[in-house]
C-alpha cells in the first residue's frame, strides 16, 4: 500500500518551564504499518528535534509511551496510525501524571502509590506442569502490568484514589503472599482504596496487557467482605 499523508496536532510546551502550552501541527507521510510512536520518532528527526515524549521498548513492554491519542489513553508504540479515524490526530500528555512538557510526563504519582515491596515476578502460567531444568524451581515471568498508567488516566473517579493499577498489584500480592493478607487488605480497604471504585470498568477497557484491574478490585472487595463477615 502507498504512503499516506497524516497531520498530527501535538501539545507543545507546558510543564515546569513555565512555557504556555499550545498545539502545533506536523504533517508527514506514513506507511500502513506505522505506529503513533514511529510517527513521533520521524517528526522528531525531521521536523522538531526538541520534541519531548517518553519511549523505550517500542513493543508494549516498558509502559513509558502512554499518552492521550484523540482524547483516549493509549500506548503510542502499539497504536497504528491507520487504525485511527481519518482527519487530524491529536496528541496530549497522559492524564494523572506530572507533566514535564510536550508529551512527556513523570510517572511519580503512579510509582509512589505502589506497595513498596510488591514483587514484579510471578509463576508462568504456560506449561506449568512441564519438566524443568533441575536448577529451576518453577518457570517464572514478569507480571502482566507494565505500569503504564493508562488505567489511571481512564478512571473517572475524582476523589483521592489509589487507582486501578495499584489495587490490581495489591490483589496479585495477596495471591502470591497470602501470609501478608492482613496488611494487604488493610491497604485495599483504606478510604482511598477499593470502595472508591465506581465500576466504570474503563481501566479494564484501556489496559494494553489484559490485567483487568476492575476484576482485581472486585476480588479485593469480596475478600474484605469475608473479613468483616468473620468479625
Amino acid at each position: 500500500m502507498s504512503a499516506q499523508e497524516r497531520n498530527f496536532r501535538i501539545l507543545r510546551g507546558g510543564g515546569p518551564s513555565g512555557l504556555g502550552a499550545e498545539f502545533q501541527s506536523y504533517s508527514l507521510e506514513l506507511n500502513e504499518h506505522a505506529t503513533v510512536l514511529d510517527a513521533l520518532e520521524w517528526i522528531r528527526v525531521e521536523q522538531a528535534p526538541d520534541l519531548m515524549y517518553r519511549h523505550s521498548c517500542h513493543h508494549g513492554s516498558c509502559g513509558t509511551c502512554g499518552m492521550m491519542v484523540n482524547g483516549k489513553p493509549k500506548l503510542a508504540c502499539l497504536t497504528k496510525v491507520n487504525d485511527l479515524a481519518a482527519g487530524d490526530i491529536k496528541l496530549e500528555p497522559l492524564l494523572g501524571m506530572e507533566h514535564l512538557g510536550d508529551l512527556a510526563v513523570s510517572p511519580v504519582p503512579l510509582m509512589s502509590a505502589y506497595p513498596a515491596d510488591s514483587a514484579y515476578i510471578r509463576e508462568s502460567e504456560v506449561n506449568k506442569d512441564a519438566e524443568r531444568p533441575a536448577e529451576v524451581d518453577r518457570f517464572e515471568r514478569f507480571e502482566n502490568c507494565i505500569e503504564c498508567g493508562l488505567c489511571m488516566a481512564a478512571c473517572p473517579v475524582e476523589d483521592e484514589f489509589q487507582g486501578p493499577a495499584v489495587l490490581a498489584a495489591l490483589n496479585r500480592e495477596l495471591a502470591k503472599t497470602p501470609e501478608r493478607r492482613a496488611e494487604i487488605l488493610h491497604a485495599a480497604g483504606r478510604p482511598d482504596g477499593v470502595y472508591r471504585c465506581e465500576r466504570a470498568l474503563e481501566c479494564s477497557r484501556v489496559c494494553p496487557t489484559a490485567v483487568y484491574p476492575a476484576k482485581h478490585i472486585m476480588e479485593l472487595r469480596k475478600e474484605l467482605e469475608k473479613e468483616s463477615g468473620a468479625e
Binding site: 523505550s56 513493543h59 513492554s61 514484579y120 529451576v136
Partner: protein, 392 residues
Amino acid sequence: MKKYHVVVIGGGGTGAAIAYDLIKRGLHATVLDRGELTSGTTGRHHGQLHCGARYAVGDREIARECMEETNTLRKIASESLESNYGLFVALNDEDEDFAPTFIEACLESGIPAEKVPRKKALLMEPKLSHKIGTVVQVPDGTIDAWRLPLQFFAGAQKGGAVIRPFCPVTGIDIEDGRAVAVRIRDLVQQKDERIEADLIVNATGAWAPQITKFAGIDIPITPAPGTMVAVRKRLCNMVISHLHPSGDGDIIVPQRGLSIIGTTQYKTDDPDDIKVPREDVDFLYRCADEMVPEFSKQPFHAAWIAARPLAGKSESIEDGRGLSRDFVCVNHAQHDNVHGFMSVIGGKATVLRAMAEKTVDAVCQDLGVQEPCTTTETPLPSHREYYRKGAK
C-alpha cells in the same frame, strides 16, 4: 579526599551501571540523556539474558564474562529477570556436526551446558518443532530491558547521582587539552546550561561519534540495526536458540505474554534514521517457525528495530557479523590527546555491570582514586524506587 564529579553522557544500560558504580566508589555522578532514559538501543534490545553460550565458540573470554554476569544479575537484580534457562536446538545435519564443538566451548567457558534427551526437551517445551535433533540446555534467561537499567538508576540516585533525562548534550568545552565541561539544552526547563566535570564519560552507544565530534574527535562507529518481531502468545518459558554458529533470526525470547524472534543486521549511517524493513518480518517468521512451528500463526504484536554500534567505518566493513561485539573503553587522552574524556561503546545489556566496572576502574585510575568496585554485592533497589516521591 576531593569528591570528583563525573558526567556520564547517555542514559542507556551502560550509563546507568556506570553511574551506580561511580557513586558506590564515592564519586559524584551526573547522567544526561537527550530523551527518556533507555530511549536509545537499550530499551529496544531482544531481552535475552546471555549466559554466553552463543559466544563461546567464537570467544571463550566473552562467554565466561556473560556467565559470570548472568550469575551476578540473578543475585542483585532478580526482579528484572525471568530466570528460566534456555535450549539450543539442532535443526539439520550441519548443526549436528557443530554440536560437540559448541558443548565443549561452553564447558571451557564455565557454562554448564548439558545435552538433554529430545524427549525430555519436548516435555519441557511442548511447542518445539518435532524435527529437532540434539538439544543443549544452558542457563539463559529473559531481561526486562527497561526495568534492569532502572534498578541501576534507582541505586545510583539513592547514592546521590543526579539523573537528567531530556537534556541533550550540545557541546563539550576543551581547555588546554582537557575536557572540562559539557553544554546541554535542558528541555524540561527550556534553558541552556554548562556543567563542569572532572571527567566526562561518553556512553552514547551508536550515537558516540556525535559526542566525540564536539571534542574534535572522529571515532569510527557504524550503526548496525537489527529487527525483532513479537507475537501475542507466550509459546515457551525457556529461550530457544538455533544450535549453529550465530546468524540471523535464530533466537526466540519469551517475555510476559509474548514470544519474540530476532534478529537481523544491516548497516546504516544515522542511528536515528532506522525503519523496519518489511522483508525482515517475513524472514523472521520463517526462522521462528523452524524452531517453534506455531510462531507465525499467533496474532502479530509488534515489529521494531534497534541499532548496535559496530567498531569500524562503514566502507571498511564487508559484513557486520565479522566484527567483534565486545565492548571498548577508549581513553581519549591516549588516542586523541584530549584528557578527561572517555568513550565506552559496544557490549551487551547482559554485561552492563561488568562494562561499568572496567570503565570506572579506568576513571579511578585517571583521577587517582583508589576504591575497589563493590557492585556485585548488594541487591539493587526496585525499579519503582527511581520514581518514588521524594527519591530525587
